[in-house]
Symmetry: C2
Subunit: 282 residues, 2 copies
């Protein structure tokens, strides 16, 4: 019986320090024993060096389409639209006051919030798909991709702006509130939820445009781009923070389109699954 | 100002029936107006026919590794292990009584449950990554991939066994209970949560082995494999339900390994992100 054999093997492996697992990013090998035969594939870059990132793989990187129209705006037409619009506008005031012109810090903090809606929406659609025995039209993946993309924004900005303890505390509070609010909001009205995210993304574009202005004025130092950003957006090795902000802003414009589109689908009395989702729309 | 221009364009688009969106799976084009320029890419198969699935793309399909050891078992050593083991065993009795030998139906129903843990775990790790400004080591993706894989199992089995109304009602109830229980369980003890899923997968392997026996005895008709299964697992065109059950069972064995491994990492006092996640481990 294999049961005992595995049990013995386990004890053996536990006491040895050999490990088949390597750690993420800058973390070093730490010897995690495993008898499950799970080995993360080692990937090398074209220049022969090891691929450092476990949170994304080479085939998930992309060149951002920076030619996207940054000015596009959904004019609020209905009561719900206006409510979404003014909710976002109202949230901007405390944000402006708190961060002033510290756009690096602001970007980092806002990305912790921006990564919430995609995950919540994707999760709710996943469970809906299971409950209803229905296909998702790719929207689960599209929204989860958005959440991952926002998380990569955060992983990038935290390399250039280290959060302080009270900022960490603020993030935990805001996440707790926003997760619950968005979860309930999405259950009640996905139409409203996606519209609000559309407007949030319009504000994000504005905020990154201000960031660029400060960089150009020399008020914020145009430091070299973090290594993770160079790999994620396939940027040239000598890229700077300015290049990173440009591609991040393009990402936000794509999120704006996706979310306004999702809201429009609901406005037309349809369900998201009836329209093919924009997977890989960067 | 682009605002008004877009608004006019929107009205124009709204009244026209032209659409850039196509619908999922077997659903037909329905004309969803959009001025966001979002167009899902049309993909064709090597034989020139259109790729039908929006919930997964050709590059996400794979050939299941059916050579995986189906007998591997984690011997419960600690109190927590035994609790996880017996919780799963206890859950099997009502399941056995409810479904008896209707393995097609049983598979379909159980997949609606199996797709919960990966999504919950992935989501919680995503939010943890945001809160702590920490990389995930790829575990967010690995767990979300597991959830998607389980959803594809469901999408496959619902083609061969149509759920009845009381089964749909049961799914909604079970999902509500299990989502909350697993959510809380994962917050309290990810060690226990992953171990329990590991044992659930061991039971799933057993259940699919019984399914195969019934197919071989002729008690269940070995119908042709659903189209979605042929595309998802890159199966030959003349594959049957038996071939599908074989690859699904191999998937479950992979989930077993991943979850027992995740639990082991916690048992060694480590965090998941310290070990590279098995992405694309099928
Ligand atoms: Fe972002
Ligand atoms: Fe965004
Ligand atoms: Fe499954
Ligand atoms: Fe499974």
């Amino acid at each position: 019986e294999s049961t005992l054999a595995v049990s013995e093997k386990e004890k053996k492996m536990d006491s040895s320090s050999s490990s088949s697992s390597s750690a993420d990013g800058k973390r070093e090998e730490k010897g995690i024993a495993s008898y499950w035969g799970i080995e993360a594939s080692k990937i090398t870059k074209p220049d022969g060096t090891e691929w450092k990132w476990n949170c994304f793989r080479p085939w998930e990187t992309y060149k951002a389409d920076v030619t996207i129209d940054l000015k596009k705006h959904h004019v609020p037409l209905t009561f719900l639209d206006r409510m979404a619009f003014w909710t976002v506008k109202a949230l901007r005031y405390p944000t402006d006051i708190f961060f002033q012109r510290r756009y690096g810090c602001r970007a980092m903090m806002l990305e912790t919030v921006a990564a919430v809606p995609g995950m919540v929406g994707g999760m709710l659609l996943h469970f809906k798909s299971l409950r209803r025995f229905e296909h998702s039209g790719g929207w689960i993946k599209a929204l989860l991709e958005e959440a991952e993309n926002e998380r990569m924004h955060l992983m990038t900005f935290m390399e250039v702006a280290k959060p302080r303890w009270y900022e960490r505390a603020l993030v935990i509070t805001v996440q707790g509130v926003f997760f619950n609010a968005y979860f309930l909001g999405y259950l009640v009205s996905p139409k409203f939820a996606h519209r609000m995210v559309g407007y949030l993304e319009e504000e994000a574009i504005h905020s990154y445009t201000e960031f660029l202005k400060e960089l150009d004025k020399g008020n914020i130092e145009n430091v070299p781009a973090p290594a993770i950003a160079i790999d994620y957006w396939q940027l040239p090795q000598d890229s700077t923070l300015r290049d990173v902000v440009l591609v991040v802003r393009a990402d936000e414009a794509h999120h704006r389109d996706v979310n306004h589109f999702a809201s429009d689908i609901h406005y037309q009395g349809r369900e998201l699954r009836e329209a093919a989702a924009p997977i890989d729309y960067h």
